[in-house]
């Protein structure tokens, strides 16, 4: 009879718990909580139809080239051969992000050699609040990036003793840059790790040096090949993905401790920083330096605003969670030496309760909020009506947050969406779209609408809330505007006048 070790049973239970909770929220709605999710759906559909990702998107910005690493969409397309695409889009990203608990367990076990600390850390990893607000129900690219990235970190730790992990490292070194541009974070992490090791006059094994060289070279070359067109146009501004100035401050905010505490959770932050202090500055260890490299590179990139706050916190948070295992282990080791050594099990329970209170509850609250942030049934009905009743070549105006939704559901061109790289004048368009929704001047509105050849304006509830309007005040002129749909949300047709 096959007997599973108790630790694996607990690990599987943690994985299933994390996955079930995520799927519970995700399947509460048929829709997605982020606009970019609709781009991923469309790209995956394109792969299924043509075998290739979208290189030139006729529906985005009324036509523009697209630069997006395609691996994640190919991965989803593969599963879509066997299952409905919407089910795959809901299921696969959640399975991948939930697998992080296993990866976190494995890394923690390598660091601490302590099952209890590793399991508790794995439990923490499943309920980081940021993972509910940013990665839940969004077909987020980080569902792919984070497991690959941290599995590579695990392989880097393991290859010191077992060369059997080298093939995995090689494979994922190729897959990570094909998944997202944040792959360069691993390059920085490894470089800082290497510098830390040299500064301690330690010798890295030849295998590790070769692995680091290979990862840096592959990442650099693949990213270069993917983004060279963007480099030609923008130079080093490619790093900021041509983000409009108006959004720059929002995306690349200054980092502060309150943000970290709120998004990552008090427990991982406190435990993680304690581990950094003892691990990096007191008992210096090679494997800790690797995680230290991740933390330092993330902080450096966040400070230099080379990575957005949301992206940076994902890596920072998870690394702090992993490092928490050291603090937990040290705590229990210390406890063994005290009078309270017989209360270890009780303290374990207390820690679980702390995880639930400080992480799981905020996770659930955040998840609830995220799944409510979806297009309404009425919006979708209106857009489906649009798809069936409006001419194919129409250009539809919607705010930035609904650009991909418009393209995916109506299959019509949008004026603006949040894929800014290689997009024509996103900053100018963002300003113009805001003006169109808020101006009281019909002349100004018409001038801007003609600039982008807009045929229809979509006015959803969210748009009304965003701009604090109830309708388009200038659209009363029947010569220039016609309301095609009177029920909410309204659709205005722009006429030639």
């Amino acid at each position: 009879m096959f007997k599973l070790k108790k630790e694996f049973v607990l690990l599987i239970l943690i994985f299933l718990l994390t996955l079930s909770l995520r799927l519970f929220f995700v399947f509460q709605t048929d829709f997605f909580s982020e606009d970019l999710a609709y781009f991923h759906l469309r790209n995956t559909e394109n792969i299924l139809e043509t075998g290739k990702p979208i290189y030139f998107d006729g529906l985005s910005y009324s036509g523009r080239p697209v630069l997006y690493p395609p691996f994640s969409n190919y991965f989803l397309a593969f599963f879509s051969l066997f299952l409905p695409i919407n089910l795959v889009a809901k299921l696969i990203p959640e399975i991948l992000i939930s697998s992080l608990v296993i990866i976190v367990y494995l890394i923690s076990k390598e660091l601490t050699k302590d099952v209890r600390a590793s399991l508790l850390t794995a439990l923490m990893a499943g309920f980081i609040p940021l993972f509910a607000s940013k990665i839940l129900n969004t077909i987020s690219i980080y569902s792919f990036v984070l497991p690959i990235f941290f599995f590579m970190i695990y392989c880097m730790i393991k290859i010191r003793e077992e060369r059997s992990y080298l093939p995995y490292l090689v494979i994922f070194s190729v897959l990570l840059p094909l998944t997202h541009s944040t792959a360069f974070l691993i390059v920085f992490s490894l470089i800082i790790y290497f510098l830390l090791v040299i500064s301690e006059s330690w010798n890295l094994r030849a295998t590790n040096k070769e692995a680091i060289f290979f990862v840096i070279l592959t990442t650099f070359l693949i990213q270069f090949l993917i983004y060279k067109e963007a480099f030609l146009l923008y130079g080093f501004n490619t790093i900021w993905s041509n983000t409009p100035v108006q959004l720059f401050l929002e995306y690349f905010k200054d980092i502060n401790i309150m943000t970290i505490l709120y998004e990552v959770g008090i427990l991982p932050v406190v435990f993680g920083f304690i581990a950094i202090f003892f691990g990096l500055f007191r008992k210096k260890r090679n494997d800790l330096f690797l995680l230290g490299g991740v933390i330092l590179s993330t902080l450096l990139l966040l400070t230099l605003k080379l990575i957005s706050i949301a992206d940076g916190l994902l890596f920072l948070g998870l690394t702090l969670v992993i490092l928490s295992s050291l603090t937990i282990k040290n705590f229990f080791n210390y406890l063994k030496l005290t009078k309270f050594s017989h209360l270890q099990k009780h303290f374990s329970v207390i820690l679980v309760i702390l995880v639930i209170v400080s992480l799981a509850i905020p996770f659930v609250i955040s998840a609830n909020k995220t799944v409510k942030n979806i297009p309404t049934e009425k919006d979708i009905e209106a857009l489906l009506w649009f798809k069936l009743n409006i001419e194919e070549e129409a250009v539809v105006l919607a705010p930035l947050e609904e650009g991909h939704l418009i393209s995916q559901i109506t299959k019509k061109s949008n004026v603006l969406d949040d894929l800014f790289l290689l997009a024509p004048d996103p900053g100018e368009r963002l300003e113009d779209v805001d003006q169109i929704y808020t101006t009281k001047s019909e002349f100004k509105a018409l001038d801007l609408l003609q600039k982008y050849d807009v045929d229809y304006i979509f006015l959803s509830e969210k748009t009304k809330e965003k701009y604090n309007i109830t309708e388009l005040s200038y659209a009363v002129d029947k010569k220039c505007f016609r309301i095609r749909k009177y029920e909410e949300p309204k659709i205005y047709q722009v006429r030639e006048c």
Partner: protein, 496 residues
């Protein structure tokens, strides 16, 4: 048995690598012929036009009348003369010969480079890899698949070097003295290489100074009529922009779109090769100096990359051999890294062949210019980067082209062209059109997509499209006589 095998392998290599060279160089031409695309690059049309003139008039032209106001020519336009000779003697059409010549020169240059490596007693493995890397290197492919100013000078510098090393100094000198007839800057670069060679081998510098004197005299004689008539050439007060180039380093790397650019993979291998040879740093100090000087100058004079490439591929070969010979802990990583570099280099080469096969002028541009050729005589206004096409294909004089040296009033011409392009003042434009007797305006897609204008109603485009009538003022009527997906031709008519 082993000896027989190695001899057989050597024989195979002796045939295979030059054959590969020929295939690589012929391929872009074949692709262009299949797609019905004309000769690539604008400078080709300048040389073929001058060659045709030489062939027609059986004399070297003193003036280029295809620039409005005329432009004095060098005494012996080397490449054009070289193109005309087979036509005069064997009746080989200039157009055909201009397609074949770069390939032939490329193969010969490749063979001479091989012989040079043997003269320097370079190790067999390093030689084989260097030759392979040379053949697939983008600068080599571009240089010897398009008719440009550097094909003959590169060949002559290589040949002259080989003759010198084989102690045939007189023939070496004679060969070298031909270079200024083709390109004076290339001649001086060749002299610079000679200077470095003499210093590094601790030989006397007398030959260098002697050659410097001779080359300077020949260069002076080439441009003597112009110097006597105009003095020194006018310095440009505007920046020459290349189509599609946004950053300085873009030209340096072929993967970024640089025509002469080197492959990023060869740069990385070259850096590792440099680390290997650095061990003998003081022995090779002058080589490093040459390398660094060439790299720095290449950012300003892109064509120097052609010469830098020969040095770089040897270093890259050293780097590649080092990676292959080095003891790796992980065979898997070693194999992957070598595969990445090899495939990367091959990919860069193939990618460059593909780019050359799609280089302008396209068939649509060619058709448009052929149409313009059928129109009556008249001066054509367009961006200077189109000048050679217009004069070479449409056989019409232009206001400006890319040959700025000794172009009469080049800065004023540029200012006037800018005024015509960007003004919407009908009176001002009319005066300038009259000044240059402009009869046609030729506009291509690039001009409308940022090279000159960014919007459909910018400057002259506004006037062309809306043709305003201003009572009481003499105005020009613009009539569109031809258009296709990429170009427009407008006739400038006088109307009162």
């Amino acid at each position: 048995m082993k000896n027989q095998k190695s001899i057989k392998l050597e024989n195979v290599k002796l045939i295979a690598i030059p054959l590969l060279c020929m295939v690589v160089l012929v391929f872009p031409l074949i692709l262009r012929e299949i797609n019905g695309e004309p000769l690539a690059e604008d400078i080709s049309y300048y040389h073929t036009r001058i060659a045709q003139q030489i062939s027609d008039k059986l004399w070297l032209p003193k003036e280029d009348n295809y620039l409005y106001g005329g432009r004095m020519m060098p005494l012996i336009p080397g490449l054009a003369t070289f193109l005309a000779v087979p036509n005069l003697i064997f009746n080989i059409p200039i157009n055909t010969f201009s397609k074949i010549l770069p390939i032939l020169i490329g193969v010969f240059s490749f063979l001479i480079f091989f012989m040079l490596l043997q003269e320097f007693k370079v190790d067999k493995r390093l030689t084989d890899i260097s030759l392979f890397l040379l053949v697939i290197s983008p600068p080599f492919i571009y240089t010897f698949t398009t008719l440009n100013d550097h094909i003959i000078p590169v060949f002559l510098i290589l040949l002259s070097s080989l003759l010198y090393l084989r102690n045939k100094k007189f023939f070496s000198l004679m060969t070298f003295l031909l270079i200024p007839l083709f390109s004076i800057p290339d001649a001086f670069i060749g002299l610079f290489f000679f200077f470095i060679y003499l210093l590094s081998t601790k030989k006397k510098l007398k030959p260098f100074f002697f050659m410097l004197l001779l080359v300077s005299i020949i260069s002076l004689v080439q441009y003597l009529p112009m110097i006597l008539s105009y003095g020194l050439p006018e310095l440009l007060d505007f920046k020459v922009s290349e189509k599609g180039v946004n950053f300085a380093f873009q030209n340096f790397i072929s993967d970024f779109g640089g025509k002469f650019g080197v492959s990023l993979f060869s740069i990385l291998l070259g850096i590792s090769g440099l680390f290997v040879v650095w061990k003998k740093k003081y022995k090779n100090l002058l080589i490093y100096t040459l390398f660094i000087v060439l790299i720095v100058l290449s950012f300003y004079l892109t064509w120097l990359i052609v010469y830098l490439n020969f040095l770089l591929i040897v270093l890259a070969s050293v780097g590649l051999i080092y990676l292959m010979k080095k003891k790796w802990e992980s065979r898997l990583i070693k194999n992957f890294i070598i595969l990445i570099f090899v495939f990367g280099l091959i990919f860069s080469g193939i990618s460059h062949i593909n780019r050359i096969s799609k280089m302008p002028p396209s068939k649509l541009v060619f058709d448009s210019l052929n149409n313009l050729r059928l129109e009556p005589e008249g001066v054509v206004l367009s961006h200077y980067s189109n000048g050679f096409w217009i004069s070479g294909i449409a056989n019409k004089p232009v206001v400006m082209d890319r040959h700025f040296i000794y172009m009469p009033n080049v800065n004023q011409r540029n200012r006037d062209l800018q005024d015509i392009f960007y003004s919407i003042n009908v009176e001002d434009i009319t005066k300038l059109l009259d000044k240059y007797n402009i009869n046609y305006i030729w506009i291509d897609k690039e001009m409308k997509e940022g090279q000159v204008w960014s919007r459909e109603d910018d400057g002259l485009l506004f006037l062309l499209n809306y043709n305003p009538k201003i009572l009481g003022i003499r105005y020009r009527k613009f009539e569109k006589i031809y258009s296709n997906e990429e170009t427009e031709i407008w006739r400038v008519k006088e109307n009162f």
